[in-house]
Symmetry: C2
Subunit: 276 residues, 2 copies
DNA sequence: CTCCTTAATAGTCATGTTGACTATAAATGC
DNA sequence: GCATTTATAGTCAACATGACTATTAAGGAG
């Protein structure tokens, strides 16, 4: 792992620009710091990094878990599919960049994007993950209900929902990122309430159950699922005047909306598989 | 959140250097890209970011949860306490940088550090988190057993274990990072086996229980805790010839070592509090 | 309109896990 | 020896879960 021998990195003289304690140097060794040029920081003296965000955006559509992908128009990997994302701008946080990019890619209103669940997944920083230069990418995961018009306007030339089970090969390490995101989403369904993020404002318990079944790839017992969800305070709340959903063939189902609880106690564990 | 209006960032002409699809621009707007200067990437054209790692290193010492802190020798925040950490070097990943820095700070052998549990926590990227320049920090969490000589040699001038309950004010956003790390560790005790990371090679179930009690700040029923741990395959494994621990006053306890399982099914839930 | 199918909802029962407790065993320190 | 301390064994009720069965309320076929 620590493939790095003692070596002074550029900008060591201004070490401490962040969490780094100023009196620390990468290489240790007998010769500690002798002098310090305290003032006059030169950003260029640091190893040059680009910082991007990548988004693993999931939805449940047509009974399948689907992912938002865009097609690259530039080398490298021109023409390959990739996760939506982009550069973090000089005065925004990675989270802001992720929301901004998501709005652009999906064509959702900034207000809608502002309210949806967007969670930081993990940061990918392998030195060779981009062939041209050092790029560190902060990955985010977003969960959307099935949208009327899934592929957005904005400036995303080619974007489309793709079933997770039939992914094309992806640019860079995006397959790795997407795999991590999938594992995380599956695991979070167990002990959080965020399955409701995949549902529209009003939904039936059957629809909520389908979210679990689709993502976990298992079948759940309907009465037991229902009992569990209703027994968890704040998971869902029944809608007032019993309006019932039309369209289907069987008995109409009661409608619910997402509750205020975030965690599930005790959790709703998957039948057999281990969480990631 | 998206405090950023339409604006072209430097280096837009080489957008797509990473997860970014090349045909995307930060600012949308009617005027899409007209021409592309494909080859000849200039790293300097990107917004300059420095990338660091920060480490939240926990141990259980003297019945208390303690954190490894270092004292800054440079402005800003000179003299303040901070998390150990440092810059990511040009050809190492953030994870490698974290291990390297941890070895330096604690004086542990590279081999020891290589084997311990080091987990990426989250990345902190608020634009103003460092007053001088844009610094994005990838935070890691490490869990150590009570070490013989806790404060390391290396080049960490002033490093020391500090009880989590009596933290000084910390530099930058390190109090935020540490709070997130604490929440994460507490939550992970519930559904993973990593409490054993706080224990030495051989330990008693009482010691393992103290880890939970110390971090969660609750008292657990001893027989119930024992029953749960032993019922979870792979959590701990009994040591062969029943050697028993001396020194204490009561009946000697059997010794165990960490098992191979990573997850706890079903989880060992905290008495009342919610997970983070 | 009636029967059949489909889906939602209600309820039952055995099993397994948990929390609260009691009991016994094996060491130390007067 | 005896109280104290800690480890370990075991009990029992409450609760949660998995596997079912039963009932209700719609749509569709004839």
């Amino acid at each position: 792992m620590a493939r790095q021998g003692p070596r002074r990195h550029p900008g060591a003289s201004v070490a401490g620009a962040d969490g780094a304690a100023g009196d620390r140097e990468p290489g240790a060794g007998p010769s500690r710091r002798e002098k310090e040029e305290a003032p006059g920081y030169d950003p260029r003296a640091f190893p040059p990094f680009a910082v991007t965000v990548d988004l693993a955006v999931f939805t449940v559509r047509e009974q399948r878990l689907q992912v938002l992908l865009v097609q690259r128009g530039e080398d490298p990997h021109r023409g390959d599919w990739a996760l939506p994302g982009g550069f973090v701008l000089p005065d925004e946080s990675a989270g802001s960049a992720a929301r901004r990019e998501l709005a652009e890619e999906t064509g959702l209103s900034a207000r809608t994007v502002h309210h949806l669940h967007l969670e930081q997944l993990r940061t990918y920083s392998e030195p060779d993950r981009d062939p041209r230069m050092r790029v560190v990418s902060v990955a985010y995961t977003a969960l959307l209900p099935d949208l009327p018009e899934p592929r957005g306007g904005g400036d995303a030339a080619k974007a489309s929902w793709t079933p997770y089970v039939s992914l094309p090969s992806l640019a860079f390490d995006h397959a790795l990122i997407l795999g991590d995101a999938y594992d995380r989403v599956g695991a979070k369904l167990e002990y959080t309430c965020l399955a409701t993020s995949f549902c529209p404002d009003l939904f039936t318990l059957g629809e909520l159950q389908q979210v679990y079944e689709t993502i976990w790839g298992v079948e759940l017992d309907r009465p037991n699922f229902r009992r569990k969800v209703l027994a968890t305070p704040g998971f869902v709340e029944a809608v007032e005047g019993p309006p019932r959903r039309t369209g289907g063939r069987g008995k109409p189902a009661a409608l619910y909306r997402a509750g205020t609880a975030a965690a599930l106690h005790p959790p709703l564990l998957r039948p057999e598989g281990r969480p990631s």
